[in-house]
């Protein structure tokens, strides 16, 4: 598989009521596209609780410069604490430092780096394996390193939407964490990919599931997860 570009973000939530609390939901269509997927044994290594099938709610952005956002439901109560969504803010003078991600379902920070690097959205990932994460995103997922500020590594990729907008990925060193896809919060980053003779080489700490079918109403995809159960998983989607 060869990564083509960024597709969408996925939040794991407990219920429909949680979705209403997503702080930028007003930037998305009011009516989600709802799909139900059967249990999938390929996901087992990523989950703490058994996969009883997935109901997913996909919201398309009203603005052309955002990725789609998808919500999946989980009975788990564990909330992850190593990822924040970064929203653009006007450039500030002087030093700026990100706070560590909060242990909240929707950990969000305003960050001047998002607009400074011509992006419409950002994601901050905190990990104790920043070297492996850097290799994964730059070598396997073709992100471009745009800067290093203090101890942060700033990467950029392109969202395949109507604006071909930029997405900033900020890597930060943080404590070790053990998370699963069914833990609450930003659980997966979705990417478009296509078959290629070039194999995706992964850093040692990451693994890949076997490929599996994702039948959706508007298109059918082949999916594959890349995961280390520390960072959010990465889902590769190949359109059939």
């Amino acid at each position: 598989m060869k990564v083509t570009g960024f597709s969408h973000i996925i939040y794991t939530v407990r219920s429909e009521a949680d979705i209403a609390g997503f702080p930028i939901l007003d930037l998305y269509d009011k009516e989600p596209q709802i799909s139900k997927l059967p249990p999938n044994p390929e996901k087992t290594p990523l989950l703490e609780m058994p996969d009883n099938g997935t109901e997913l709610w996909l919201f398309r952005p009203r603005e052309s410069n955002l990725p789609a956002v998808e919500f999946i439901f989980s009975g788990n109560t564990q909330v992850r604490q190593n990822v924040s969504l970064l929203l653009a803010t006007e450039s500030e003078s002087g030093a700026f430092e990100l706070a560590p991600p909060k242990q909240e379902m929707f950990s969000i920070q305003h960050c001047p780096w998002v607009s400074r690097f011509d992006c419409s959205l950002g994601i901050m990932l905190s990990t104790d394996r920043i070297g492996d994460a850097h290799r994964l995103f730059t070598e396997s997922f073709r992100c471009k390193e745009v800067d290093r500020i203090d101890s942060y590594i700033l990467l950029k990729t392109t969202v395949i939407n109507k604006a071909l907008s930029g997405l900033l990925i900020v890597l930060a060193s943080g404590p070790a964490s053990a998370v699963r896809n069914d833990h609450l919060g930003l659980s997966t980053l979705g990417w478009f990919a296509r078959q290629s003779s070039r194999r995706i080489d992964l850093p040692d700490s990451f693994e890949a599931t076997a490929e599996f079918d994702i039948p959706l109403p508007h298109a059918n995809f082949t999916g594959q997860f890349i995961y280390d159960n520390c960072l959010p998983s990465l889902e590769l989607l190949e359109k059939k």
Partner: protein, 74 residues
């Protein structure tokens, strides 16, 4: 067939209808995200190129004229 004609033909395959405009392809919704993805793959296959998305912008995909320039530099 010129490159412009080839690109127009590929877009028509992607959108499954005749193309009536040659610009504002993204702005006017001729191409949405999945259609843009399809077009990227068809352009790569037809012209034997690899489109590095980090190097392209909304401007490149918004008109046939700009797509021709994109192909020439890939």
């Amino acid at each position: 067939m010129t490159n412009a004609e080839k690109i127009k033909s590929l877009i028509e395959v992607v959108i499954e209808k005749p193309l009536t405009v040659e610009d504002r392809l993204l702005d006017d919704g001729v191409l949405d995200s999945l259609k843009t993805l399809d077009l990227i793959y068809k352009l790569e296959d037809e012209f034997d190129i690899e489109i590095e998305l980090d190097e392209v912008t909304h401007f490149d995909f918004n008109s046939i004229e700009n797509l021709i320039k994109l192909i020439e530099r890939c």
